[in-house]
Symmetry: C2
Subunit: 173 residues, 2 copies
DNA sequence: TGCTACGTTCAATACGAATTGAACGCATTA
DNA sequence: TAATGCGTTCAATTCGTATTGAACGTAGCA
């Protein structure tokens, strides 16, 4: 039991392994784990649905990892569960709507990280409104900060539009 | 010596700290450290150039961190070094061409991570060319893999165009 | 009803990357 | 020329987070 899957061709199996490895790096650099990419790539290059058990053996990952990765990928619409009658295991096959998948995944990953900064500009602008009437801070300081924040807002708004229109909609197609 | 900088206004100082914190999160999630963002935000909201020494005190980071961050930011065109005569310290002030800065930073960060996967498609397609003539692998397997890889290439080319045109050029303006 | 084989969960662990800080080199000044 | 005050470097450390694996719940089967 040395190599399994995808016929016996050495070079084809080699190619799959290359993709598994590369996908692992990609997802890792995107801030999802390495395993997620590996699982998807492996399933993508599998002719038949594979079980969690297969994944743990081939990718040498734990049962827990396999389970969690598969669930994450399912939520991103990257996998489909397949029942094989007379078999108690769950089987999975990869879907290939890369655009939709990437879109969901990015929104998820980015959203997960941007909570903190989100709404900061609005909050701060609110604070400045209040202070605008008071005279506590020196007029100079107030103007300085307002000017700086205005620059940020302008840039934010511009990139926001680009992001919304270009990326997401185009990835959808 | 409790609070320094930016006048004495509590609320304005508060605002700066908010931005420092937020910027730290952003750069961290982008895969550059937390410190990079903090340093930039602090300088951006400083009226006068600041020294490494200032940074270590205000941001509570080590001299090493301050030095490395400043250098990185300089390479991204985010900072400008300022000499103050009669002072042996180096001073820095933030530049605000956000577009150019982000562009350089992203190219750098992404480039740093994509080395692995880069050229993979080309390599693999090369391998498949060779195998195309041999009959080692079953015809079915060969076709399967070729089809799968073609899908990936199509997607890669499409997103590549979007990335090149939309993002980078627009960020330049 | 108990037994088996599976998937899930989450506290413990391992791992990689960010950060530190001591050692160093290089200016500047006396 | 020595002494002082910088910035830089990089091995050691710390810290966050991905991964593990043992314990658990559950569904099917005898």
């Amino acid at each position: 039991m040395k190599t399994k899957t995808l016929g016996d061709s050495h070079s084809l199996e080699q190619i799959r392994q290359r993709f598994v490895e590369a996908a692992g790096h990609v997802t890792q650099s995107l801030g999802a784990g390495r395993v997620i990419g590996q699982v998807y790539a492996y399933l993508y290059f599998s002719r038949k649905p594979q079980s969690l058990d297969d994944l743990t053996k081939v990718l040498e990952i734990s049962k827990g990892s396999a389970s969690m990765s598969v669930r994450q990928l399912e939520q991103w619409g990257a996998l489909r569960q397949v029942w094989i009658k007379g078999d108690r295991k769950d089987y999975y096959e990869a879907l290939d709507s890369f655009g939709k998948i990437l879109r969901k995944a990015l929104l998820d990953l980015i959203g997960r990280r941007m909570e903190v900064g989100d709404g900061l500009l609005e909050q701060v602008e609110g604070l400045l409104e209040e202070k605008g009437t008071s005279t506590q801070p020196t007029q100079e300081d107030l103007e300085f900060v307002q000017k700086k924040i205005a620059l940020i807002r302008a840039f934010r708004d511009r990139t926001q539009r680009i992001w919304d229109s270009s990326i997401l909609t185009l990835l959808l197609k």
